[in-house]
Symmetry: C2
Subunit: 503 residues, 2 copies
């Protein structure tokens, strides 16, 4: 055996590099020397019958012995080494998808086999974060056409699991993000399941927002269910609202989102592939997509919505999904609260038919549930919203929601943050616009979603008249420091609620 | 002071993450908790009057105390903390260039101020490696037009140093890479300096190739000179051949190359900006660019060369550089050797007028030196090559080269690798083509450039007739293991020297 192939003992580095496998070796270890490994080299580690391609970080002091390789949490989870395990290190072959990646970067169209190779290499960690960033960038804007979008969707689907619900309609909904507080999902699921349909909803945690549906739902019930637990909830209650991360229906999408999150740009094509691959993997047959439109929402104009809609419908047809799109008002937040617990409170007040609850959230949830019920097999078209309304008003939706919470592990009433402070109007006038992005940023500075009770709370809507000194919104925080952060940012941006005077 | 602002003690992690600043904190430390930091969050660290934006890696075991932050080598070098130093951590403001990056990713044209913001953020570590990968991708292929290329070049120049040679012509050359063994630089510098011109040449180490000029030169003389040492060599001898990395003339280019290297794709625009910003920063006034053309060279066709040439000339004019372009044969390697020592041996045999030396390397060096001498002020156009030839034949170039080596720290004769093995022709026939990329890969598998003596050695040229069993090339390696790697790859790819039979 040549020097290069002598194995290294494996240690757990105890370092979380967020899914990216990293291996730590001493600069002077025989592997680095004989293989010519340097920092950021991609290395192939084989241990037993498992292998991982990882990024090398080179240890230059004596923290690490020469015959040892330490693994980041992600690399450790993939190799799963036993006690005294060793690994052999070598240069990996270039990823099979490297030519496809290169072609896309240089603006060429890709075919089905190209996307399949790319997604296969994505889920098997063959592509580095920088290569994934290049892929995301190469697809950004309008660089995936319809056929490519369909091919990418199918490829993402092919490299993951797909739930088989054993026939019959399976309903689902999705909101193209960007609108704070738009927490219709728990209400829609409760209504649709109360109507006797199957709606196995997986939701995401916050990516760049102050709360994802999974974060808000988690304030009320456990959401980190695995596939078997999710299946048993749905078999019992018809619906669920669980975190998609433990179900891992679209592992390729999970990885691409990890890259898109810090970059904060994506594309219509990737958005379509992300949404539809997850829906198809979840076994959905009938899907409604809510597209909020507004200058500070994710989709900023009706023409952009139309473009996205055409993409969604084309890809859904190719996958055999029944898809409906609902364009909604994205000018201002929905509901009062922004942040996990504050949004959960709004959801509960709608389900409980609380007269002081947010009318806009109620109305939007009924719209979505209505379209979904209309699209289901055997529906009388146009009756969906009335059916939804009856189920909500009668308390059937609330009972169903509580039963789902119970099946997921038990209901908890959301709490209230210990530190609350108002942000006041600085002049008299009428609210002309709301900057959703900056308001969301305040909720994040206040601690959301890490602190579930943190966020913002506002009853003020576009068109309302306010007086100087009147609260525009309240900031909720877990600590005085976070409260200060958020308030500082609010002072620096007094036009988040734009107050018009005169005319 | 709020909890979040309490400082952490700084430790040196002793981990080399290749220029990317990384900070390691315990998951449960007060900063992570109160700021909501998770793995891969970008964090701003302030210590004394220095600051760095770094990527967070989260420590999940008890290797790190709760009141400590450990810094990677790159972060340590930037913050330069003293004993018992502490740092305060916070969320950095989004990079100033974020909107420009986003605009470019979505296909928009950028202006001078955009590129300036991007390059400023690049050199001050405000952009993550993923963001830099996105920038490189967004510019890839043909996505930078002429004006953008010029603006990027100026921006790269603006964020670095620029050497002032105090007036007069300063000559320089550059080869657009991709052709193994094309080591004309030491010969050209020796001839041009022997002709009485100033030619302060900085060269790179290998990026993706088996040897850069700096690697080959380093076999013969020290190259890691700093700016002052380089200046003194040039003042004494008229020329030098030093590694650009210590001179850091274009720090933005160094960082972009770090990203382009693992991605292995770039663009005409970035290539032009990279080359010309370095030349202008080095104070050059008259530059020759050698563009080898061939199916496995970097520039694959005459039309691609023409396109690149137009870009180079437009940008050079905008910078006030006198630029000449020489299109050369890129069908096969130049000289016999590929790898630092083997290329150095070829350089010396040409300078020594060794009759057995490579004619192609001699001829090409004379071509380049001729164009450069012709372009210099006061030259009689068309006489350059004859002048260059005389200086080489007379031994003046060799004496100048030895004097330069002496000034750089002393000359060393290149050695020979301990393990050498031939790769044989598998049939009779005529050499039709050479796969430069695969031949370079063999030299790398054999250990080049990490092992300076490693590489390949071949006297066989396109058009030569070979017999089965005759050596096509020799592999040189430091260890039997590396020799085996390279030979295994050669066996798997028997058509690196394509042997035609019949007709």
């Amino acid at each position: 055996m040549s020097d290069a192939h002598r194995p290294l003992r494996l240690l757990r580095a105890g370092i979380d590099t967020y899914q990216q496998p990293v291996v730590y070796m001493h600069r002077d270890c025989h592997v680095c020397r004989s293989e010519g490994f340097t920092a950021l080299t991609r290395v192939l580690a084989r241990s037993g019958d498992r292998e991982v391609v990882a990024t090398l970080n080179v240890v230059v002091d004596d923290h690490l012995e020469l015959d040892v390789a330490a693994l980041s949490e992600a690399a450790w989870a993939i190799l799963q080494p036993g006690a005294d395990a060793v690994a052999v290190f070598s240069h990996p072959e270039p990823p099979v998808s490297a030519p496809a990646l290169r072609a896309k970067v240089f603006g060429q169209r890709l075919g089905e086999s190209d996307f399949l190779a790319l997604m296969h290499d994505t889920v098997s960690n063959r592509l580095s974060d920088m290569e994934l960033a290049a892929f995301v960038t190469a697809c950004a804007g309008d660089r995936l056409d319809n056929e490519e979008t369909i091919a990418l969707t199918k490829a993402m689907l092919a490299v993951g699991e797909r739930i088989d619900w054993g026939g019959g309609a399976v309903l689902d909904k999705h909101c193209v993000g960007g609108l704070p507080g738009n927490r219709t999902t728990p209400i829609v699921v409760a209504i649709v399941a109360a109507a006797g349909h199957r709606i196995p909803k997986t939701s995401s945690r916050a990516i760049t927002s102050p709360a994802g549906t999974a974060d808000a739902m988690e304030v009320m019930a456990p959401v980190a269910l695995d596939l078997e637990a999710m299946r048993s909830v749905v078999e019992r209650e018809g619906g669920c609202i669980v975190w998609g991360g433990n179900v891992r229906l679209s592992p390729a999408d999970d990885i691409l989102i990890r890259i898109e999150r810090p970059l904060d740009f994506d594309s219509d094509g990737q958005l379509v592939a992300s949404v539809l691959s997850k829906k198809a993997a979840a076994g959905a047959t009938h899907v409604v997509i809510d597209i909020p439109i507004g200058p500070t929402a994710k989709v900023r104009s009706f023409s952009a919505a139309a473009f996205l809609e055409a993409r969604l419908i084309a890809a859904a047809q190719a996958l055999g999904l029944n898809l409906s799109v609902l364009r909604t008002d994205g000018l201002q937040p929905v509901g009062y609260g922004i942040g996990p617990a504050l949004e959960a409170r709004d959801v509960l007040s709608v389900l409980r038919n609380d007269a002081a609850g947010p009318r806009d959230l109620r109305s939007r949830a009924l719209d979505i549930a209505g379209v979904l019920l209309d699209s289901a097999p055997g529906a009388v078209l146009g009756k969906g919203r009335a059916v939804a309304s009856t189920l909500l008003d009668s308390g059937a939706a609330l009972r169903k929601f509580m039963a789902i919470c119970q099946a997921q592990g038990g209901f908890t009433e959301p709490g209230v943050a210990p530190h609350i402070s108002p942000v006041l109007a600085i002049r008299n006038g009428q609210i002309r616009a709301v900057d959703n992005r900056r308001l969301a940023r305040i909720a994040k500075l206040a601690g959301a979603p890490g602190s579930p009770l943190a966020g913002t709370d506002s009853r003020v809507r576009i068109g309302d008249s306010v007086q100087a000194g009147e609260p525009l919104f309240y900031v909720h925080a877990r600590s005085p420091g976070e409260l200060d952060y958020a308030l500082d940012y609010a002072s620096a941006h007094p036009d988040i609620f734009q107050i018009g005077t005169g005319q």
